[in-house]
């Protein structure tokens, strides 16, 4: 409803009219109502008559002043009512926009190339957008990093919007631009004059730009408000630790450093171990709860955009926590390192799981020696051939059961087994003859059983011709005759050597304990998710902004640092795994800001300084102030007897 070019955004017109009529009638009634006057006895009334006669000319003015008082009260009521109906210029009301202010609070927004960081600059920009809203605009504040959060609804309350902006804090997560734009499209769907203003540094990769939901934003007025001035950053984009495959007791660490600066620079890289400081994990605990013991220092010279990898060998004992940090980048291109969150990365040396191995067979010093060489990785129990059958019920309890020269019948259909020279009715691979002086002609080098194992010149005196079934893998063979076979069935893993190692020079080679370790690990990993196993051992480096599933649990990772993972409902005192989380996002670490944004071929212009319809005109506030001023004037005039 439009009245004199104004729309009423507050009290409905009908209600306002009713209130006005009732109020006017009540006020008039009160004024017309004769009040009981105080009776005063005077000695000589004719004097009063004479005095009033002198002011006879004032009687009319006194009556007029009474009506003036009534008029002032009516005007006061009208002003209050006007404030209540909240009039707004109709033209501006029709042009009212639905503005979604989307603020990027990903890790790159904590860069310090702007006063107080880019996020501080973004908050200032957002406040400026709110201040420029038109009188009929409705705005919503939302933030995003890897997830999206709506900080307010669509509202016109400037103070509420500014309060929400002031409370926006940064994250250590990478930005998920497609997800954020998808949220924006959904939020603006169906709203009048939808407008999206993205406040960001524009540090998005090509994939993110390509995946932007352009179609969903087709009817939306999209704007881009850039922040950020430069891209001086050197980052550790990867830091991982692993067990040396050749020596499971040894650990290697790899650090990848990349410069995103425009000029060459030199950085000092420190790698250290952190002792267990207790319950507190993450970057905040390092200085306070635990001391970093530097185990390696390196100086790296980086050209603009160059990426370097630094590898450490035998860095630490299994289970240790490692920290890699950049110290004081220097060089051309300006201030240094604007982003601190990627200057420090974390890794946990995976602990070695202890495998339970059951060896069934007679004495075999070679085999026993090889098992001993695995050290604490295995716990071996030896059972004689005669007692093999008595242990059948417990075979599934072991990570690996080694049948050395024996094949109990019937062959097991579930479990994890390693056969050396199986024979007889219990052999899972029936023999169809013998093979003399076989030569290893083919090897499946990528198979885990033979990883890092060289068998090319293996000397074997005699082997069996094993029969394999479809689905079995001849890991190593001699001109079609499998020498090492592997079988994987649901619930069953079997590896077999077609020969007795003692009838070869295999025990004399380093390949033997390696082959044995590979076999135990391959058998032990059957039916277990590798990632889960690694998480359990603490060997996973997670990326912030993602959710990882461990068992039945989804683990969100929001901050860099060490995270302790414990299974809910686990046994009391059960140790929790420690995993490391890092930003590890070269796109996010590349803090070069974008002055402009183009998505799906559509350019996003800068937002205007003010909304249509001119600056906000809170007529209701003007009316309220006028009512208060009028009330004060009426009070003052009453005491001056101007309206009495």
């Amino acid at each position: 409803m439009t009245i004199f070019g104004l729309t009423l955004a507050g009290l409905p017109a009908g209600a306002a009219a009713a209130i006005a009529l009732v109020g006017a009638a009540a006020l008039t009634g009160l004024y017309l109502l004769k009040l009981r006057r105080r009776r005063v006895v005077v000695p000589f009334a004719p004097l009063w008559a004479a005095a009033l006669g002198e002011t006879q000319s004032e009687r009319l003015s006194r009556r007029l002043r009474r009506w003036l008082s009534l008029a002032l009260q009516m005007l006061f009521g009208a002003l209050v009512l006007l404030a209540a109906v909240d009039p707004r210029p109709a033209e501006a009301d029709r042009a009212g926009r639905s503005v979604l202010i989307l603020i990027d609070r990903s890790a790159s927004m904590s860069a310090t190339d702007e006063p107080g960081s880019r996020l501080g600059s973004a908050r200032r920009v957002a406040r400026g957008i709110v201040a420029g809203l038109g009188p009929a605009d409705r705005a919503m504040v939302a933030t995003f990093a890897s997830g999206v959060a709506a900080e307010t609804g669509f509202e016109a309350d400037v103070r509420s919007l500014e309060g929400a902006i002031d409370e926006v804090t940064g994250t250590e997560e990478p930005a998920d631009l497609p997800r954020a734009l998808g949220f924006a499209a959904a939020a603006l769907r169906g709203r009048p004059h939808p407008t999206l203003i993205l406040v960001s540094d524009g540090a998005y990769g090509a994939n993110a730009r390509a995946q932007a939901p352009a179609q969903a934003l087709s009817g939306v007025d999209v704007r881009f408000a850039p922040v950020g001035t430069r891209g001086d950053n050197v980052a550790i984009i990867s830091f991982a630790a692993r067990r040396d495959p050749a020596d499971r007791g040894s650990v290697q660490a790899s650090v990848v450093v990349q410069s995103f600066r425009d000029g060459p620079c030199e950085v000092a890289l420190e790698i250290g171990t952190v002792a267990d400081g207790g319950a507190q994990e993450g970057p905040g605990s390092e200085g306070a709860a635990a001391e970093i013991v530097v185990v390696e220092r390196a100086r790296l010279g980086l050209a603009p955009g160059e990426r370097k990898t630094h590898v450490l060998h035998e860095v630490a004992a299994p289970g240790a926590r490692l920290v890699a940090r950049l110290v004081r980048a220097s060089g051309g291109g300006g201030g240094g390192d604007d982003l601190a969150v990627d200057d420090r990365t974390y890794a946990v040396v995976p602990a070695l799981p202890r495998r339970r191995v059951l060896r069934v067979g007679g004495g075999n010093l070679f085999l026993e020696g090889a098992l001993l060489s695995l050290g604490g990785q295995v716990v071996v129990r030896r059972v004689s051939t005669a007692a093999a059958e008595s242990t059948r019920a417990r075979w599934p309890d072991y990570d690996a059961v080694i049948f050395d020269g024996v094949a109990p019948a019937p062959a097991p259909t579930a479990g994890r087994f390693l056969y050396f020279d199986p024979a007889g009715a219990g052999s899972p691979f029936p023999a169809r003859g013998a093979l003399r002086d076989p030569v290893v002609s083919d090897t499946q080098k990528l198979h885990p059983l033979v990883k890092h194992v060289a068998l090319a010149d293996l000397n074997v005196r005699e082997a069996q011709r094993l029969t394999i079934e479809p689905g079995d893998t001849a890991v190593a063979s001699s001109f079609g005759s499998p020498l090492i076979v592997a079988r994987v069935r649901p619930g069953l893993r079997v590896a077999a050597l077609a020969f007795d190692p003692r009838h070869s020079d295999l025990p004399m080679r380093t390949a033997f304990p390696l082959l044995l370790a590979n076999a135990v690990e391959w058998l032990a990993s059957a039916g277990v998710d590798t990632d889960a196993a690694d998480v359990a051992t603490g060997g996973v480096s997670l990326r912030t902004g993602r959710t990882f599933r461990v068992g039945d649990a989804d683990i969100p990772v929001a901050r860099v640092g060490f995270h302790r993972v414990a299974t809910a409902g686990g046994a009391a005192g059960a140790p929790a795994a420690v995993v490391a989380a890092n930003l590890s996002d070269p796109v996010e670490s590349d803090t070069h800001p974008s002055a402009a944004l183009t998505l799906a071929g559509r350019a996003w212009p800068r937002p205007p300084d003010a909304g249509p319809g001119g600056p906000r005109q809170d007529l209701w506030a003007v009316a309220l102030i006028a009512a208060v001023a009028l009330s004060l004037f009426e009070w003052w005039s009453y005491h001056r007897r101007w309206t009495v």
Partner: protein
């Protein structure tokens, strides 16, 4: 109220006033007051035209020689002074804090006392819408207590009509003397007729106007209904500063006009408010105009 009007302290002050009056009027013989009564005295009083039948011995031949006009000499006659005290006891005299009637009664009692102590003939009458029943003329200090007793019981009520009261007074009393009128002079018909009537009947009026302390500018504000204490007339008034100023001007004019009227006619006039001590008023009267001289 009447019993407390003349207490021990009041009586002591009466004695004091009597002593003061003696000092002021020292040398005067008792009961020797001159009046304007023309009689057979030896002191020349006045001339008048000769009419047939006048004693030829009274013709002033020196005047005839100068003016060739026959005039007879008149002589004063010594006589006792009569003092009449007329006290306004209308309803308006009950207002004021203290009430005007209290001051009027006390001042009237004091004047009567001095007169009685000086062996003058004193009469006291209340006036309102006419002349009330008071104490007829009497002489001697022995009349003091009855006088005070009677004056202590007088209550204020009724309307004011000074003219009617004066007419009734002059009709009742032939003996000339001093008439002391103690009133607030709030008479709708005015005071001129009454005072002129007294003068025309050869009385010597003296005016003592007593008004209330708040009568000049009442402490009123806002919307009020004023009620005349004597007539009961009501009037709705919105009392503002302008109205109060106008009223004050009117009241001041009333007092001023009375003073001017008395001055023009050589009538002693004393104006006071009810919050003044009665002895101060009486002394002022003694010293101011030769009252009772």
């Amino acid at each position: 109220m009447g019993a407390g009007r003349f207490d021990e302290r009041f009586l002591r002050k009466l004695e004091y006033l009597y002593v003061v009056s003696k000092k002021i009027f020292a040398g005067q013989n008792r009961a020797e007051r001159r009046t304007r009564q023309v009689g057979s005295g030896i002191e020349f009083a006045d001339h008048r035209d000769y009419v047939a039948g006048d004693d030829l011995r009274t013709i002033d031949w020196s005047v005839y020689g100068r003016m060739e006009r026959l005039l007879v000499r008149l002589f004063e006659e010594d006589e006792d002074l009569s003092i009449y005290v007329l006290i306004d006891a209308s309803a308006s005299m009950a207002l004021g804090a203290p009430s005007k009637l209290d001051l009027a009664m006390r001042a009237g009692a004091a004047l009567a006392y001095v007169g009685l102590a000086n062996l003058d003939r004193v009469a006291v009458y209340p006036i309102g819408e006419g002349l009330g029943e008071g104490l007829p003329p009497a002489r001697g200090k022995g009349r003091i207590l009855p006088l005070l007793s009677w004056m202590g019981g007088v209550e204020a009520n009724g309307r004011t009509s000074l003219a009617k009261a004066a007419a009734a007074f002059v009709h009742r009393h032939r003996r000339r003397g001093i008439v002391i009128v103690i009133s607030d002079f709030y008479d709708p018909a005015g005071y001129a007729e009454a005072l002129d009537l007294l003068r025309y009947n050869r009385f010597e009026p003296t005016v003592i106007q007593v008004t209330g302390a708040d009568d000049a500018r009442p402490p009123l504000r806002g919307d009020v209904t004023i009620v005349d204490v004597e007539t009961g007339d009501e009037r709705e008034v919105t009392v503002s500063s302008a109205v109060l100023d106008a009223y004050a001007r009117r009241h001041s004019a009333l007092l001023r006009d009375l003073a001017r009227f008395c001055r023009e006619r050589s009538i002693p006039c004393f104006q006071t408010t009810s919050d003044v001590a009665f002895d101060d008023l009486v002394l002022r009267a003694f010293r101011g105009s030769g009252l009772l001289a």
